[in-house]
Point group: C2
Chain length 356, copies 2
Amino acid sequence: MSLKTIHEIDIVKAPHSKIASVDFDNLIFGNTFTDHMLVCDFKDGAWGKPLIKPYEPFLIDPSAKVFHYGQAIFEGMKAYKDESDDVWLFRPDQNLERFNKSAVRMAMPEVPEDIFLGGLNEILKLEKDWVKKGMGNSLYIRPFMIAFGTGVVAAPSTQYRFMIILSPAKAYYSGEVKVIIAEHYSRAANGGIGAAKAAGNYSAQFYPQKLANEQGFQQIIWTDDATHTKLEEAGTMNVFFRIGDKLMTAPVSERILDGVTRKSIIALAKSMGIAVEERSVLVEELIQGMKDGTLKEIFGAGTAAVVSVIRAFCYQDTTYELPVQDDSFALKLKEKLTNIQYKLEDDPFGWTVKIG
Amino acid sequence: MSLKTIHEIDIVKAPHSKIASVDFDNLIFGNTFTDHMLVCDFKDGAWGKPLIKPYEPFLIDPSAKVFHYGQAIFEGMKAYKDESDDVWLFRPDQNLERFNKSAVRMAMPEVPEDIFLGGLNEILKLEKDWVKKGMGNSLYIRPFMIAFGTGVVAAPSTQYRFMIILSPAKAYYSGEVKVIIAEHYSRAANGGIGAAKAAGNYSAQFYPQKLANEQGFQQIIWTDDATHTKLEEAGTMNVFFRIGDKLMTAPVSERILDGVTRKSIIALAKSMGIAVEERSVLVEELIQGMKDGTLKEIFGAGTAAVVSVIRAFCYQDTTYELPVQDDSFALKLKEKLTNIQYKLEDDPFGWTVKIG
Ligand SMILES: Cc1ncc(COP(=O)(O)O)c(C=O)c1O
Ligand SMILES: Cc1ncc(COP(=O)(O)O)c(C=O)c1O
């Protein structure tokens, strides 16, 4: 694919760049922002002209519906720089599509492709110096939409603001990842908003996440809320299980986010001759797999974390340490994926899209 | 109870009041705000000094966590004016308690009583002319807290803003209320945030609500997400069923908001000699009750709607019209409740609290 050109956009450049003051070797994920942001407002049933302007706080009414009813969605993407200083996106069409699915589920207007992807192209051209070369370096992209209309009555807004902000990043997780399997708390309901990248899904996890952290676990693997027997996904990653030489991951459903990394990992694994099954994996299969030695790997997959090897999981107060794999599927898949993203290898799937 | 006095507060008065420009006979619920708002910030682990200042938009960073992760909670209360021009609150201690329960579930700091109730007392003294006399008139009170800290990483904020805004109101619903019983969509998961007055719970309902509206129903009665057989609550109301001469309502749980109106209705009904059962009512009991004529009433109960008589419900494409009751529990309970709220009757429970 190539990015749709945007015809109508205003650009107000920042008088000077902050880039010299940023320590790119010591970035905290999601904390540093580039010089500009994109803003586009929806009112009277239509999107206005997008504006790229200096990154700065903005004014909003205390009764704006985003504050009271959480009508807000977002996406998470990354831009990568290759050795020739070209900047690339990875499957941005998938993020646009998912964003607009989230919009429908949250009763918000869809954002047209030229504003979302065309606008992203423009702001990335302006901020290309913020994308650093080298494996692991990227510019994290956060498109989001909030309900801007006012009024403390629980009904959809009629005004919205779409924005794109950009944050230079290193890899998301560092160190060993140990997870706990959810036995009481849940992330999503049947018929709920789990498949949407809706703001409310994330704060709902903060308290159980805090409890998990206090017990020494970095992440929670969520299970279905009705029985807590089916493994679903982690807070910001889909989860893969390798039992024997087969890779398994929960099917996407209305409870699970349809991850771009997840679907890319599935395609890559298949292309590498690894058998993949999209089906509900039960907690008891993990326990059984630990007993008989067939559970070989667990890993998370997501834009921020890329591929994150899980070293141990806790269930019913027992912690199970996973064996270290010489022939790790996770590491092989991660290498393949990042090589494509950083343009170090051919991209037979046509996933990468050049900014320009 | 009486309201805790606040010792430290700053007040900046609006230079002139908008009140003369407001048409109090034609208010749209939640759309008009008084002259002032209360603002109090939490940072470095502590609440600062509250400030009452003119109602106006405020500045916030595009990466504020409220926008991305929906970390936001609120309350809904009302102030009433009696015939002697005194202003009253109804069980405000219950709202404070619930607010702080919501805060814990959303990994947010609790708001101390003197800031929440003491601050509310101060702003209501200032805005007392906005509370109009007469049954049905009230000043709707919206305390809320949002995650003010910045950063696009899914973790709790370290900075928060607590605010109180006020909106003069007439009754919330008018006309006949017909509801549809949820067969696919859900409001809350087991182990989720349904019992918290968290922003994300509300936008999650907008899309199914829109579908219901398109089919001619004003509200949805939510059912449990696992089986859709148990009746839970409506979007902003708890729900009561009268079968024979017994009143039934779902027990509070982690899926259901512990409504102040709900618990007051239960107490009033008991004091009036009506049998009340807090138990899960099944959809099939309603259908059976329609067949054998024992289902006499359904009504919603909540601060905004007070008591809202439900005229019909739809299930599996069949609409069931409820009989009109001469001896309506809903209307009797509503009268009793509002008489207490407006100080037209004794308040044997000590529920009302005077501003001053
Ligand atoms: C809940 C959830 N699951 C999975 C993912 C992974 O999706 P993707 O690979 O598209 O980044 C994310 C986030 O990005 C997420 O928020
Ligand atoms: C989901 C929900 N249920 C029930 C209620 C009723 O609670 P209360 O009577 O405290 O207003 C409300 C709102 O106010 C609500 O938001």
